[in-house]
């Protein structure tokens, strides 16, 4: 069943405007830091998305900032009411993505909006696109900040859509990190590089919002089919001009080319998802460009990684947490929910559980840290079913009162990590070594019942009739809230 969703960013921009969540900026803005600074401030203030109509040096191009940096925008993208709560959005996401995958369909090239303009050869020049200098001090202009890269396995039909940042190096070259445990990293470094074969790629900029959500999601379902599940309808794809990859037909800009197996060049620094510039400038994966196709008056999407909350933090937290929820439920663990705080820059996950047996928190941590997604989970906080996992105050209270500072904390060393951890030392970053920790915020089951502390809250220590009376008379006591 199709949901009320948007086939492209243009429809989504109109929906944000209709929901008073868009600021259309008519005055010219500079791609060199000004645009980035605006988007950064938007993320930090949780302001409406900026829609830039005039970009200095680039007449005819537009830009759209912070497209999905709030739950409100995510709810709108999902076709839900704008004030849907996080649990409501989460449950809807799980419902839609638990059924059968929805196969994408092909669109005739002549009808595909992303083919309205085609540059090949010398004309396919990255500096003809308004790649922003996002933060002062970045290693270059990052054309790809809210986008995804399409790549295909060398031996199978497996296709990956993933967000791998790309810095413009020169007219024909982009460069960026491809971590070896990522889907694209496994294909490229595991198969193409040993055979010294270039890997075809297509970078999709300005896709519909749910394709972006899917590209962030760590689901085993192919991302185009996952997008179809979120939309309730097939995604329309079109074949690239210079390789056999398929891309969303309604996207704004497609950059086609090859990932080179025999050379690396320096990339970074860059303001990263953790809110710091952490990973070193070092030789990284090289993309050479063969063609650029784009819609008339293309709209470049601009995300700005930094301190919370940007769309990378929000959506990765959202989808990582929910994929972990699916995994834990599939194992029969009596969880009450999983929530990853966006403010944790998807490092801390809160798992609510009915403490049915001893050691349940360790079992949860072992599953989380033993999963494919392990490097993105550095801290697991397990709380009991009395704690609202979505309520930061309650989670902090549980962490500080139920987690024993020695017995409640278990460390996991020698884990896979990333070079992006700000807390890691330079050697750990160099070798992508991680460490993880469990905070067990459940009271041990072997304590005598009479020894278990009783939570002192309005809901817990007053008889129901007293609670009802106080609630009924609240306003008449003189309270205004």
């Amino acid at each position: 069943m199709p949901y009320t969703v948007f086939k492209d960013n243009r429809e989504f921009i109109k929906a944000l405007e209709a929901n008073d969540d868009l600021v259309t900026i008519q005055q010219e803005v500079d791609w060199d830091l000004e645009m980035g600074a605006i988007v950064r401030r938007v993320c930090e203030k949780k302001s409406a998305s900026p829609y830039f109509k005039k970009i200095k040096d680039y007449p005819g191009f537009e830009a759209f900032g912070a497209p999905l940096a709030t739950y409100k925008r995510l709810a709108i993208a999902m076709g839900m009411k704008p004030d849907a709560s996080v649990p409501e959005i989460s449950n809807e996401y799980v419902k839609r993505t638990t059924g059968d995958p929805v196969k994408s369909i092909l669109m005739d090239k002549k009808k595909a909006p992303c083919k309205e303009n085609i540059w090949t050869g010398k004309e396919a020049d990255l500096f003809k696109l308004p790649g922003p200098m996002v933060h002062d001090g970045d290693g270059g202009r990052y054309l790809a900040t809210w986008h995804f890269v399409v790549s295909k396995d060398l031996d199978t039909e497996f296709v990956n859509w993933g967000m791998y940042r790309q810095m413009v190096f020169d007219e024909k070259t982009m460069v960026g990190p491809v971590l070896p445990f990522s889907d694209m990293g496994k294909m490229f470094y595991g198969k193409y590089v040993p055979k010294n074969k270039p890997m075809p790629f297509a970078t999709v900029i300005g896709c519909d919002p749910l394709s972006g959500v899917a590209a962030c999601a760590p689901s085993p379902i192919p991302e185009d089919e996952f997008t179809g599940m979120l939309m309730g309808a097939p995604v329309e794809l079109v074949k690239c001009e210079t390789n056999d990859l398929y891309v969303p037909a309604h996207a704004e800009i497609i950059i086609e080319g090859e990932v080179l197996p025999d050379i690396k060049i320096d990339e970074a620094p860059f303001g990263e998802y953790t809110g710091y510039r952490t990973s070193p400038r070092e030789p990284r994966t090289v993309y050479r460009v063969n063609a650029i196709t784009f819609r008339n008056n293309p709209i470049v999407t601009v995300s700005n990684m930094g301190v919370p909350t940007d769309e990378g933090q929000l959506l990765r937290s959202f989808s990582l947490g929910l994929e972990m929820r699916k995994l834990l439920e599939s194992q029969g663990i009596p969880i009450t929910g999983v929530f990853m705080l966006p403010e944790s820059t998807h490092h801390l996950v809160v798992v609510g559980v009915r403490p049915a047996y001893s050691g349940i928190a360790s079992q949860i941590a072992n599953l989380v840290f033993g999963s494919k997604l392990s490097p993105w989970f550095t801290m697991v906080v397990v709380v009991d079913n009395e704690t609202d996992i979505y309520n930061k105050d309650e989670v902090i209270h549980a962490l500080c009162t139920k987690c024993h500072p020695i017995r409640g904390i278990r460390k996991y060393e020698q884990a896979p990590g990333t070079p992006l951890y700000p807390f890691a030392d330079p050697e750990e970053r160099k070798w992508s070594r991680g460490s993880q920790v469990l905070f067990d915020c459940t009271f041990p089951l072997d304590w005598p019942k009479a020894s278990i502390p009783i939570k002192v809250s309005f809901n817990n220590v007053y008889p129901k009739e007293i609670q009802d009376m106080v609630l009924k008379n609240w306003k008449s006591y003189g309270f205004k809230d």
Partner: protein, 86 residues
């Protein structure tokens, strides 16, 4: 003619950077004729000096996390080096 300006990222101790010797570095063009090409990177054979006036063009120095150093150096770009076969 106004000096051209470039910048480069230095990933070793600044005191260890060799001066007045031909070496290969990556620089970014900060003053291209067509502003759309600002920050274009390229490999270059170049000579550098910590003196701002020794070589014809200005070279701004950034450290590994992007920290801009207060005083510029100078650079003489001898040639651009193409690292790609196509």
């Amino acid at each position: 003619m106004a000096k051209k300006e470039y910048d480069t990222f230095i990933l070793i101790e600044l005191s260890q950077v060799p001066e007045d010797k031909e070496m290969e570095i990556i620089v970014r063009d900060l003053t291209p004729e067509d502003r759309r090409y600002k920050y274009r990177s390229f490999y270059a054979t170049a000579m550098i000096s910590k003196s701002e006036s020794k070589y014809p063009d200005r070279l701004w120095v950034r450290l590994g996390r992007g920290q801009l150093q207060e005083k510029p150096w100078s650079v003489k770009i001898l040639k651009e080096v193409n690292k790609f076969s196509y």
